[in-house]
């Protein structure tokens, strides 16, 4: 039985302790001091603030009439009590935990709202909150909700929603950044591309001007030779057709011999020219391919300049050449 009694007492005590801890504080909210705005505006504002604190269950607010009545009963003027200490005393009179006071200033098309929460027990300023509102006066009456949380150093649901939205937008921005490459990857083979399109262009681009001129010159000579051989080949083909016709049409045996000789010679020349044309074209293609190869090497050299190097070096200890593999660490 003794044990059961102890358990019951303990449970009740814990319950009492927790119940006390979760009790909202009692607040006395004084009308905010109007500066540059009508008094009724500040009174209306303060009243909404009281209602917000109550509705959000942030604290138990002492009725305005009770508050004013208490002050009047004692013959105090509100305007005479503006220090934290004085307000703390008022709170003591009201049996409150905190006194909330503040001011509303209209300046440069903005409302500056200052709110102070003074601890009645210590007489010191617990927290101060300043909100600057720019906009129409109708919107001013939405500020108390935020202020009600602010004086308790909490974030209002509206603020939390704004923070969440901001985070979400940041996340979207980051994901967009991931989709869209931040840095455009440059084309890695500009010299090769140019040399492929036109022989020597890549060498000029990569500042190998001498080689560029050499390649261009060689290609020009080979192309000219190829065209010349091709034209000669065409002329000889015409000769073959002509002498073939004359050979077939003549009845004179001497002429036949003459045309036979000519057509055979034209056929030989014709084959020689077409062969030369092929060789020229092959050389032209070879030089072009070499030009592309060189351009590719230049590009690769530029692309892998920080890559591992393999060198042939002389090892003084073994007195032998050896391969050295090195990687730049910078």
């Amino acid at each position: 039985m003794k044990c059961l009694g102890f358990i019951i007492v303990s449970v009740l005590s814990i319950n009492t302790i927790f119940a006390q801890n979760f009790l909202p504080p009692t607040l006395g909210v004084l009308d905010f001091e109007p500066r540059g705005i009508p008094t009724y505006v500040s009174q209306q504002f303060t009243q909404i603030l009281r209602e917000e604190i109550e509705s959000e269950e942030l604290g138990i607010v002492i009725e305005r009439s009770t508050l004013l009545g208490t002050l009047e009963e004692r013959g105090y003027e509100r305007s005479n009590c503006i220090t934290d200490y004085c307000e703390a005393l008022v709170g003591r009179l009201l049996n409150a935990d905190f006194i909330v006071s503040g001011s509303m200033v209209y300046k440069d098309s903005s409302y500056i709202i200052d709110a102070n929460m003074v601890s009645v027990r210590t007489g010191k300023l617990e927290h101060t909150e300043t909100i600057i509102y720019s906009g129409k006066i109708e919107g001013l009456m939405n500020v108390p909700e935020r202020l009600s949380y602010g004086i308790f150093n909490f974030k209002s649901p509206q603020e939390l929603a704004e923070i969440e939205e901001r985070k979400r937008m940041d996340a979207i921005e980051v994901s967009n950044d991931e989709i869209m490459p931040i840095e455009k990857v440059p084309f890695m083979f500009p010299t090769t591309l140019r040399s492929t399109l036109f022989p020597g262009w890549g060498q000029f681009y990569s500042d190998h001007r001498r080689l560029g001129w050499s390649i261009l010159g060689a290609e020009a000579v080979l192309a000219t030779a190829a065209i010349a051989f091709y034209k000669s080949y065409e002329y000889k083909k015409d000769d073959i057709d002509l002498y073939n016709r004359m050979y077939a049409e003549t009845k004179d045996s001497n002429k036949i011999k003459e045309f036979r000789t000519k057509v055979v010679q034209a056929e030989k020349d014709h084959i020689r020219y077409i062969d030369n044309f092929k060789y020229s074209l092959f050389m032209f293609g070879t030089v072009w391919a070499l030009n592309i190869t060189h351009a590719l090497i230049v590009d690769l050299d530029n692309n892998v300049s920080n890559g591992p190097d393999i060198d042939i070096v002389y090892n003084e200890f073994t007195s032998q050449p050896q391969l050295r593999f090195s990687i730049a660490l910078d």
């Binding site: 000889k236 073939n244 050979y247 009845k251 045996s253 036949i256 011999k257 057509v263 077409i274 044309f277």
Partner: protein, 176 residues
Amino acid sequence: MRWIKLFFISSLFTLFSCDLGKAELDSCLDVFNYPSIIEYPAIGFCPELMDGSVDDEIEVGIYALEVSGVAGIHAQVSYDANKVQIVDVYSGDFFDRSQKPIFVYNDNGQGTLDIYTFFMSNEKTTGGTGEIALIEVKLNSSGQSDFIITSQSELLDPDDVPIAIKGFGKGIINAK
């Protein structure tokens, strides 16, 4: 890149399409087309090699090659009567001038064809290379058969004096 390559290659083909010319030296008046004949003057067949199918009728020319001062020609042709049959023989243009030449032929049907022609124009003689006669031959059976100019053939001058023939042609007919 791909369309550039295609364009480049197709342009090259268009610009530099190579069509090899070929000498067509198949004239019967060209002595180089008689490989069986080494020396001249000669009598030969043109073309020397012929192909055909059984029951086909083909034409073979008989030519005087590199002759000079000729007034009359006797060409004796030996052939395989089991495989081919002489259908007809026509006069060639070698002796054609202001007057037509005398032209006679005799086929014994046993494999010997004799052709006789004589130059009738005022020039009396002619020379060079030319067609003496055109033989129309029918292929009776498959296989290869030879046409040979025999040594009985003659070239004659206006006085009927023989001119030595140094080349006797040979022709081959392949019947499928």
